[in-house]
Amino acid sequence: MDVYLPIANLSVNGLLIIALGGLTGILSGLFGVGGGFLTTPLMIFYGIPPTVAAASAATQVTGASVSGVFAHRKRGGVDYRMGGVMVVGGMIGSGLGALLFRFLASVGQIDTVINILYVLLLGTIGGLMMREAWASIRQSQKGVPPPARKRRHHPLISALPMRWRFYKSGLYISPLAPLILGVLVGTLTMLMGVGGGFILVPAMLYILGMSAGVVVGTSLFQILFVTITTTMMHALTTQAVDIVLAALLLLGSVSGAQIGTRMAVKFKPDLLRLALAAIVLLVALRMLYGLGVRPDEIYSVAQL
């Protein structure tokens, strides 16, 4: 099924794009991450211009996180106060990201920066997740119950001035911490077309020390609003949101997300985390390989 993308200016196989959306949707349902870290590179690999891919992936992540937010809201898994602070940070971040994007594109280094960011972030987080998941699997095999983690935020966080109470997260910390986190994730969303769930969730757990029950819901809440901002930002600045491409991706990903959510119940959480860690590491390795090996295209063209 050939579908012509009016903004990307080329025709693609529609079923393939829907399948790609479905795959990331299943991942997002299974693991609670947006899946943008997979969609954007795959679309670029398929020949869609990088800017269009990043912009349309942001739109897709919005759709994939909507149903998640609704589900978590129903069972009280969203800390709106914390989420609100992070959304404000995220909006600032996507503004910063847009400026950074324009600057890097004008000097021709945007692709390299995106690739290096992918390698660093995915590599670090994938590695950490892998280690943790592996350790907990080993422990449960030995029959020893895993030691209860002492939930504590990073010492740097307590050094920040001005403290607020976040009841649902069970925290009394400075709002600057989630704000800064929001800014960082917002910038990444704009640059890389990812929701940032794979960075947010570990950061909220291990750096902020939020209670586990509200982490996924709040991260989805933040992702929802930040991807909305990012879509708007792209629509206004780069004008690279391809609504046809986004609709195809959405078609796959919203159904995939539902399927993934159902599948998630059937697997052990440890195994799921191990699998996610493996996927994340694989993407990081592929990107690293791409940076080091002589690329297929030595020359690239940018419109002036």
Partner: protein, 261 residues
């Protein structure tokens, strides 16, 4: 299709013969009457590229049919745009963009078809004047004047666009029948830019261009595709909101639908 095409060619020939009448005494050079199978290429949903048939007639003013010994070269050119070409280089173990050069008017599409290899038809100077061949595309480089570097970037660009199907060269792409009718098929891939395309036809004999003619083709988006493109540019805010609403709605709808299952 084929039949109607031949009818068209016949009609063109008759018209051309009529038109050629008055100038018979002044010019001894033949007259080219070009035509294109489509005056307009419509890019709409499901567009996967198209094939243009460029055809026409060579008329000799002296007689009813042209003498032998003509070669035909057809050049189809898309709209030109200013671009910057960047070159990747290995720096500290990774490949990053390093040097770059700007071209003020690089055609977004360029196809050459000829009845014989161009090297056998004309000399390099003539080929360069008329842009006959991919190595003679005039790109108007700006900035650097170092000819060696320019040549490197030019060949990089031509190679890249050749593999994207945007630049092409077919040395046997033109067939001439009975010394009168010529035709060439040139395909446009789906990733062509919209705009005005010009098809230039050259009749060449003894290394000299003796007649040339231009036909135009307009490639444009129509219907929904055009609407989306215009909408995204003129009403960016509304377009962005629409994209957001679409994604929120689809996410919500999927949640609802799957809740029923």
């Amino acid at each position: 299709m084929i039949r109607s095409l031949f009818l068209m060619i016949a009609a063109v020939l008759v018209l051309a013969a009529l038109a050629a009448g008055p100038v018979r005494s002044q010019e001894r050079d033949p007259i080219l009457v070009p035509a294109v199978s489509q005056q307009e290429v419509q890019v709409r949903q499901g567009f996967t590229g198209t094939e243009l048939l460029l055809f026409g007639a060579i008329l000799d003013p002296r007689g009813s049919r042209a003498a032998d010994g003509y070669d035909i070269v057809v050049v189809l050119k898309g709209p030109a745009e200013p671009i910057r070409v960047r070159e990747k280089e290995r720096v500290g173990g990774i490949w990053i963009n390093s040097e770059s050069t700007a071209f003020r008017s690089a055609p977004t599409y360029f196809a050459v078809a000829s009845s014989r290899p161009i090297g056998e038809i004309v000399d390099e100077r003539t080929a360069a004047i008329y842009e006959l061949g991919l190595e003679f595309i005039q790109l108007s480089p700006g900035g650097t004047i170092d000819p060696e570097e320019q040549a490197r970037f030019t060949s990089g660009l031509v190679d890249l666009r050749q593999r994207q199907g945007l630049y092409k060269q077919d040395m046997n792409g033109v067939t001439i029948e009975e010394g009168v009718l010529y035709k060439a098929r040139i395909s446009l891939p789906s990733n062509v830019l919209t705009g005005q395309y010009t098809a230039e036809t050259f009749a060449i004999t003894d290394g000299r261009v003796i007649a040339s003619a231009v036909a135009e083709v307009e490639v444009r988006k129509v219907g929904f595709e055009r609407f989306v493109e215009v909408f995204s540019q003129s009403q960016s805010l509304l377009y962005g909101l629409l994209a957001v609403c679409l994604s929120v709605f689809m996410g919500w709808l999927a949640g609802r639908l799957f809740a029923l299952v």
